[in-house]
């Protein structure tokens, strides 16, 4: 058995301290919000919203109230809106406690690559480099290996980097892993996943 994406989101949600300011990246990390108790944390959307709430009820959606993934959202009581320069001052100034970001590769040193595949279509950087470098803690979420079976937890990234030495924890379908510099420490393995199985799927020593 491995973790489902729901399990991964639940595991990531458990990393969020009460009362913290959190930015959830586009895609899988956005689902983490579904597993946070009401009022547990403040979600920051870098397009200019702090206090991001759940998707609106059908009929209440506003095209000018969106998250960074350009999905319609709501603003919770206590929310604030602001411009992009102010929003990134929050991020770059170290005021956001935690960023949970999608990833393509994470190295044993904690380097993050999540914005471009060599030779692939360039999607752009967006807020990823600012979030990865500016938030106090960074958690990466991704599948443990590529669809072709290539390692994504690696000794050194060979994809274009987003930021160096920033990832504190990687959550995959096999478990939660901490980059230590020499390799990855298995903080937790998904039920039924063996150390051998995780080690074989990891491109750096599993500690």
């Amino acid at each position: 058995m491995t973790w489902s994406t729901e399990d991964m989101a639940r595991r990531a949600a458990a990393e969020i301290p009460a009362g913290s300011i959190v930015n959830l990246g586009i895609g899988l990390p956005t689902q983490v919000a579904d597993y946070l108790p009401e009022g547990h944390a403040w979600l920051h959307s870098e397009n200019g919203l702090l206090g991001t709430g759940p998707f609106p009820f059908e009929g209440d959606e506003d095209p000018n109230l969106i998250n960074a993934g350009k999905q319609t959202v709501t603003a919770l009581p206590g929310a604030s809106t602001f411009d992009s320069a102010f929003s990134f001052a929050m991020i770059r100034g170290g005021h956001v406690d935690l960023a949970i970001l999608g990833a393509m590769q994470v190295s044993a040193a904690g380097d993050l690559a999540n914005w471009a595949v060599p030779g692939g279509k360039v999607m752009g950087i967006g807020g990823a480099m600012d979030l990865a470098g500016g938030c106090r803690r960074v958690i990466a979420m991704m599948q443990h290996v590529t669809k072709k079976g290539e390692h994504k937890l690696v000794r050194a990234c060979n994809y274009p980097l987003t930021a160096r030495r920033v990832v504190a924890l990687v959550i995959t379908e096999l478990g939660a892993f901490e980059p230590t510099g020499d390799g990855f420490r298995a903080v937790e393995l998904a039920p039924g996943v063996t150390r051998e199985q995780a080690a074989a799927a990891t491109g750096a020593p599993l500690l």
Partner: protein, 236 residues
């Protein structure tokens, strides 16, 4: 710049100062907070070879994607392309040059331009391709990149409310890049949903002071296109 009555009667009159080869800053995050009528007006104005500064340069064939379709852009400075196929195809063919910048650096480069700061050090992008060709410096043991201010010839801005001096208010996340771009251009043109008399906005409620605004066009109707309409079921 004189600050008399800034309200102009038409989009065409507001955009008369545009010329070929200009750098145009356009507010919006994706399709949210776009100055829709000004975007259409630039195509009708017939200028070309523009440098466009925008977070996304349109999407879904809409908004600034129409500038790409019209072939009036030589270069785009943006942070994210995503599913913007109009930009992907023209970048691949070489028709349009694309400079991809971290989103916070994009905002800060314009904030700096608006505040008279020619360049600044930031750690964002250090040790990545963003660093290529730029000065770097170690400060207190951390590596920083020197990023240059980014000024526009013209900024096109969407506001929810404007008074006749150009004091602006924005709506929700439609604010995004609009205020910072307004500070960073030689000429700022505002498209407002609602135009009110001076004094109708309390001074404490002004989001962007009118000192940064030069021309105002009142456009009451907007499409406000959705990119991803996500909802949940209303409990019965």
């Amino acid at each position: 710049m004189r600050h008399g009555d800034k309200v102009v009667a038409s989009i065409a009159a507001a955009l008369e100062p545009l010329r070929d080869d200009m750098t145009i800053l356009v507010g919006g995050f994706g399709l949210s907070g776009n100055p829709e009528a000004l975007i259409r007006g630039v195509v009708e104005r017939g200028v070309k070879n523009l440098t466009l500064v925008s977070n996304n340069a349109g999407n879904l064939g809409k908004g600034l994607a129409t500038w790409l379709q019209a072939g009036i852009i030589a270069k785009v400075i943006c942070s994210y392309i995503g599913n913007n196929e109009d930009l992907h195809t023209r970048m691949a063919s070489g028709e349009v040059k694309v400079e991809i910048t971290p989103q916070g650096t994009l905002a800060e480069r314009m904030r700096a331009a608006g505040a008279g700061i020619p360049a600044f050090y930031t750690p964002t992008g250090a040790g990545t391709v963003v660093e290529d060709g730029k000065e770097t410096r170690e400060l207190d043991g951390r590596r920083y990149i020197l990023e240059r201010a980014l000024q526009g010839d013209v900024a096109l801005v969407r506001a929810a409310v404007s008074d006749r001096f150009g004091n602006l208010r924005f709506w929700r996340t439609a604010r995004n890049f609009n205020p910072v771009m307004a500070t960073a251009a030689k000429l700022t043109v505002v498209e407002c949903d609602r135009l009110v008399a001076n004094g109708a906005i309390d001074p404490d409620d002004v989001h962007l002071p009118g000192i940064f605004v030069h021309r105002i066009v009142h456009v009451p109707e907007h499409e406000n296109a959705f990119e991803y309409k996500t909802t949940r079921k209303r409990p019965s």
